[in-house]
Amino acid sequence: MNTSIDTLLQRPDIWRIGQLPSTTRTAISTGYTALDQALPDHGWEQGALTEVLSNEQGIGELSLLMPALRQVSQSGKGIVLVAPPFIPFPQAWAAQGINLQQLVMVRARENDQLWAMEQAVRAGSCGMIIGWAANQRGLGLNYQALRRLHVAAAAGGSTLILYRPLRAADEASPAPTRVTVCAHSGYLQVRLIKRRASLMSTELRLPIYPAHWARSRNETSETDRTDSNALAAHQAKFNLLPFSGTPRPLQRHALRG
């Protein structure tokens, strides 16, 4: 009986809870201290598939990777985005310290997306590969496909991040690290639903946006909306919203009453 358990433990995709992370694995720091501490390798693991699960767009799911992408870019390595759902706005990426020359986008049909991701991770010359599987409806990203990607990542030693819809959390996945992200009063709530060496899932809140964007007005406005003065109250807020810390003067054209 013991021997069969031992054989099972030989498998690279099975590990014991509490097993110390191997020193041979390397990772790229996420740039968020709390997240680094929660991840067994203190960063996004290299040579592995990592899943980021979310249903929303624009909650900071990409900003989560930005510090790591910046490091990759500054080390002179390339970044490949496979089928990004929108146009990566060059001004914003460059402002984050990403070298646009080394940022390559791949547009592909669904079945070619997997192929492209696999090639990119296998080549080993990319620092990070990000794929969006959220819009893959026809082609199911089944366990085999994910495993293939994970194996390719291990062979190439690149970091592969895959964005998937939240419902994928219920499906088995070979990815050693899986996080779900959602918005929570202006913060990005990151929940580590799977990671090496730990059974417990952990929740973290990361500040993604400037502090003055963080306070969400939705909670307060819930009550306001029932109020007949809601609109007025809402409009009143408009002009008091600065881009950077300092308030800007009122502008007349903001909204006509």
Binding site: T3, G60, Q91, A120, A123, H212, N218
Partner: protein, 489 residues
């Protein structure tokens, strides 16, 4: 010259045992079918009291769960052959000693492997990985190296000898039985009280030759390095075939990985010796009932790394439907391709890395079309739609100073919609999965009369009830129209 002898003691047992990690009492039988006798017994069988020469029937009475395997000398022959293939990674000069072991001439490759100690360590670890147990003997000539290894098999403690002048003293006390001389001669010698090499050497040369034949005397001279002892070197084959028989039935495809790992690492040694890799490797599974099935592993570029091949094999075995239990496994390679391994340098070679980056881009554009693999360049322009352009990977790149963007304090979203999306309104307020709260703004972006696409917009940062942070604008040309233009992803 420096020779390392590798002997495989009780090879027939080792062959039968390397197919699985578990150890159970095992005996190898030989002799006529009517009355087979124990040829060799492993540790746990010996503990039960089984010894060689015993009839198999009496062995069974001592231990009823013993596994009995018929000795097949051709397997031993093949095993030594493949072992020689594996050893060719350490030196091109490998000599095969029929069905018993190998002699490696390592003087010329000693520095490559970091000295004798390091080389012996590598051999030890390598053979462990293959599931073989070997004894080593080291000497400046082949024959004493072999005798040293044989002596170690018998439990004698022998150190490596590297000086040819020490050979005489170092071999003096070795028993003559280590030589593969005829039994008859050995018996005669021992009857005369001559049991050690020193005893022989003390005898007059011509008398010894006359009485026991000149060959024995020549052997003694070769032993001391006084006569040349040329050996024919093993020639590596052009194809590769390795087989392992389990001796029991394997039901689970994943259980094949363990023996496969051993076969593949043996093959890796061979491929290293050949400086080659494989692109296709066939696994032949022999099932009970004389059936067989084949699994073909293909790789894009020549490969020899065991870990990578085993990973592929795992995928194949994972989905394989075994028609019946497996009795034996073999790997077969018909075509070897040259493989230039990347340098195992500690520092990465940046040029190599850059090469593979461009190779990757080439490969992607080749299949997906060059339009579909692109980079985005920022354009000095205030209107978001015109502020970027797509540039092919092989097109010229105009570098804009990175500082140019860092100084921009205006918020720009990481994701821009290909074209602004008109938002529904509720009481003049934009809706996107519910009411949008405006967090920052407005930022006026206007004019563009010079190319006929004028804009006048007030951009805001907003957040909807889902927590999505949006970049949206109010169109001042068509007052009251709100558009979503990007996501602060």
């Amino acid at each position: 010259m420096l020779w390392i002898a590798l002997t495989l003691p009780e090879l027939s047992l080792q062959i039968a045992e390397r197919g699985s990690a578990a150890s159970q009492p095992l005996v190898i039988t030989s002799g006529p079918d009517t009355r087979p006798t124990v040829f060799a017994a492993n540790q746990s069988a010996r503990l039960a009291g089984i010894h060689s020469g015993m009839a198999i029937a009496s062995a069974r009475t001592l231990a009823n769960d013993i596994r009995v395997v018929q000795r097949q000398t051709e397997f031993e022959h093949d095993a030594v052959h493949n072992f020689a293939c594996w050893a060719s990674q350490f030196t091109p000069n490998v000599t095969l000693k029929q069905d018993e072991g190998l002699l490696l001439e390592v003087e010329s490759t000693l520095r490559l492997h970091g000295g004798l100690g390091a080389l012996l360590n590598k051999l030890k670890m390598g053979t462990d990985q293959l599931g073989y147990h070997v004894e080593c003997g080291v000497a400046p000539t082949p024959l004493p190296a072999w005798l040293f290894a044989k002596a170690r098999e018998q439990g004698l403690r022998i150190r490596a000898c590297t000086n040819v002048n020490e050979l005489e003293t170092r071999t003096a006390q070795l028993p003559l039985t280590l030589f593969d001389w005829p039994q008859e001669t050995l018996r005669k010698l021992s009857a005369l009280g001559i049991t050690r090499i020193a005893d022989c050497l003390a005898l007059p040369a011509d008398g010894f030759s006359k009485r026991f034949g000149p060959d024995l005397w020549l052997d003694l001279q070769r032993l001391l390095g006084r006569l040349p002892d040329p050996r024919a070197y093993f020639v590596l084959p052009e194809t590769y075939l390795a087989r392992t028989e389990f001796g029991f039935e394997v039901n689970d495809a994943m259980a094949l990985l363990f023996p496969l790992q051993r076969l593949l690492s043996e093959m890796e040694g061979f491929l290293r010796g050949r400086g080659a890799g494989v692109v296709e490797c066939r696994l032949l599974l022999e099932h009970s009932g004389k059936q067989s099935s084949t699994i073909t592993i293909r790789v894009a570029k020549p490969e020899r790394n065991t870990d990578r091949l085993i990973r592929l094999a795992r995928e194949h075995l994972n989905k394989a439907q075994l028609p019946a239990t497996v009795l034996a496994l073999s790997i077969q390679v018909d075509r070897l391709l040259p493989l230039i391994e990347t340098s195992a340098s500690w520092l990465p070679d940046p040029r190599q890395q850059a090469d593979s980056w461009y190779q990757l881009l080439d490969k992607l554009s080749a299949r997906l079309g060059s339009d579909n693999v692109y980079r985005l360049q920022a354009v000095d322009e205030h209107r978001p739609e015109q502020a970027w352009k797509s540039v092919g990977v092989s097109d010229k790149w105009k570098t804009i100073s990175q500082n140019h963007y860092a100084q921009t304090t205006r918020p720009r979203p990481l994701f821009l919609l290909p074209s602004p999306r008109k938002l529904l309104l509720d009481d003049d307020m934009p809706l996107c999965h519910g009411r949008i709260d405006l967090l920052a703004g407005p930022e006026r972006i206007e004019t563009g009369w010079w190319d006929g696409q004028p804009v006048m917009r007030d951009y805001y940062v907003g957040r909807n009830p889902y927590g999505e942070t949006l970049w949206l604008y109010r169109d001042l040309h068509a007052a009251g129209n709100w558009h979503l233009h990007g996501y602060f992803a």
